[in-house]
């Protein structure tokens, strides 16, 4: 594109008069076709390098910082790391986390008896991961969250809690809501029946 320098820091874009060859359609049409043809030939020769993913046979692997579905991590002894402190639900801009706290009779420690995330309200911002003081909640690289009823978008403890030693880096890498290094893609264990959360779910 022809550019004219007007003054320091400003350039003027100058439309050019078309040449005779450009005004006759044919040479330009051929030139345009050549661009396409060049790509076609290049892609045929390097078809292995095509930026195409045959989803769902091949799944895309996102980076470690991907903000996908949540998990709740577990301590060595099998109890959930979450102490039901409500920090995540306070930080959540979509107000989609519902927690009910229970108390362990023996250790006097709080734990969640109910922990629901409405994935249809969730905006996947990662603030809950940032807020958690116990490193209990993480986001995974799982992005396949299709559901067939709205009620099933509400995931509870049963869907969120992962077994102990589930490979997440328990030292948080920054605060972007990352999953930590070495986090495998988690297959969503959606149960066949809808989670029974009719009171949380509003709407038709």
């Amino acid at each position: 594109m022809p550019i004219e320098r007007v003054k320091p820091g400003v350039v003027k874009v100058v439309p050019r008069k078309l040449s005779v060859a450009e005004r006759l359609y044919i040479p330009k049409v051929v030139a345009g076709m050549l661009v396409t043809l060049r790509h076609l030939i290049h892609n045929l020769l390097h078809y292995k390098k095509l930026p195409i993913i045959s989803y769902p046979e091949v799944k895309r692997v996102y980076s470690e910082r991907f903000r996908g579905r949540h998990i709740l991590t577990t301590r060595e002894d099998g109890t959930t790391r979450c102490v039901a402190c409500y920090m995540c639900s306070t930080a959540c801009p979509a107000e989609c986390i519902t927690i009910e706290a229970g108390e362990d009779e023996r250790t006097r420690e709080k734990f969640p008896v109910r922990y629901d995330i409405d994935l249809l309200r969730c905006v996947f911002c990662g603030y809950c991961v940032d807020a958690c003081p116990e490193d209990a909640i993480y986001m995974t690289r799982d992005y396949e969250m299709a559901i067939d009823t709205r009620a099933r978008a509400v995931v509870g403890l049963r869907d969120l809690v992962v077994p102990p030693n589930f490979p997440v880096a328990l030292e948080k890498k920054g605060t972007a809501g990352g999953t930590g290094l070495g986090q495998p893609i988690r297959q969503a264990p959606y149960p066949d029946e809808a989670p029974p959360n009719p009171d949380l779910y509003r709407g038709a």
């Binding site: 820091g9 078309l18 330009k28 661009v35 979509a94």
Partner: protein, 371 residues
């Protein structure tokens, strides 16, 4: 003998080339437009009211959803406004500033690529669409490796950045900037001197500099008329005053000039990115946040701050009562909304098929128009 036969036609809101849910009420004389009246509000979500009801940090993910093809600049405008209100603009570490500039220039590239792809396909040029999306995908990948999302980035925080750059990110960026110039050449080889493209764009939707100022138009449509108004130069924010770049301006204020301006802007953004890479390498890693308290409670007062988003001047106006963590009133000045107001002026006397080119050339995002 030839009496004018006027006809009123609805264009949109489900028309594919209105880029969302814009409805234009057209008054037609045959194919010629006598009057065009944009009717908006189909995507209104009450974002401004939402902002008044949540603490400042929680507003950031919601700003993503206004101009959803340029989330980083929306974030940037918001966090800068709050920082200005709190008086901590000077405390933002250098590294965070450069990272913000890099993300917003990448966002400018990706927003302009989406604009070019859809604008070209609206006018009938199919091929550039694929090439634009090829590069845009790479930009979105860069976003995703940085902050974990591709569109709704939520990639800035009040007082700094959420996270340091991941290892290898700068190398990926460098590779991208190295290839990008050639990619722009390729788009231009298809369009710039194409006779059909020129026939569809030259002299369509002319707007004079005076009219542009009267209507409050900003961004590439304003610069297309020949006025050199770019907030990155006029009111430098972050580290733009340290960077060398040029403001491309047009001359005729028509669709073709606006096209040329945006193409040149992509090259300038690429140039800024190339300058940023050594700059960010020279700053200490991890120094990305100002030392401010976690609870953001700005003092009483009001503030207006605007930045140059890919579409024009994006401004936020905040009134704070100093007592709560919420804004008392928050108003967004979206560029798309203001630029759209010039559509009737631009459209008068043109054909219906030119309206498609005009909606494309203003580069509106309805999420931002309606908020």
């Amino acid at each position: 003998m030839f009496d004018v036969h006027e006809m009123e036609v609805n264009f949109g809101p489900q028309h594919p080339s209105t880029h969302g849910v814009l409805r234009v009420l057209l008054k037609l004389d045959g194919e010629r437009i006598i009057d065009a009246k944009p009717i908006i509000g189909y995507l209104h979500r009450g974002t401004e009211k939402l902002f008044e009801n949540m603490p400042y940090p929680q507003c950031i993910p919601h700003t993503d959803r206004m101009d959803y093809v340029a989330a980083a600049t929306n974030n940037l405008g918001f966090v800068e406004t709050v920082e200005k209100l709190m008086g901590i603009t000077g405390q933002i570490p250098k590294r965070a500033q450069i990272m913000r500039v890099m993300l917003s220039e990448l966002q400018r590239i990706s927003s302009h690529l989406l604009w070019l792809a859809t604008h070209a396909i609206d006018i009938g040029a199919m091929t550039p669409f694929f090439y634009c999306f090829r590069e845009r995908e790479q930009v979105l990948d860069l976003f995703e490796t940085y902050c974990g999302a591709r569109l709704t980035l939520n990639c800035m925080r009040i007082g700094g950045m959420p996270d340091d750059l991941p290892p290898g990110w700068l190398d990926d960026l460098e590779a991208f900037t190295g290839k990008f110039e050639a990619a722009v050449d390729e788009y231009e080889s298809l369009l710039t001197n194409n006779r059909i493209w020129k026939r569809r764009t030259v002299g369509v939707g002319v707007i004079s500099p005076e009219e542009a100022i009267e209507w409050g138009i900003t961004g590439p449509p304003l610069r297309g008329t020949g006025l050199e108004w770019d907030l990155r130069r006029a009111q430098p924010y972050e580290c733009y005053s340290d960077l060398k770049f040029e403001i491309p301006v047009g001359k005729n204020g028509d669709t073709y000039d606006r096209y040329l301006v945006r193409m040149a802007e992509m090259r300038q953004s690429n140039r800024i990115l190339r300058q940023c890479i050594p700059m960010v390498k020279a700053t200490p890693a991890g120094d990305i946040k100002a030392k401010i308290s976690r609870v953001i409670r700005p003092p009483e007062g009001e503030v207006y701050h605007s930045i140059e988003s890919p579409k024009g001047e994006l401004g936020y106006y905040i009134v704070s009562d100093g007592k709560t963590q919420n804004a008392y009133r928050l108003r967004v000045r979206p560029p798309s909304f203001v630029n759209l107001q010039a559509l009737p002026v631009m459209a008068k006397g043109h054909l219906v098929s030119d309206l498609v080119a005009l909606i494309g050339t203003i580069d509106i995002v309805l999420g931002e128009v309606d908020r």
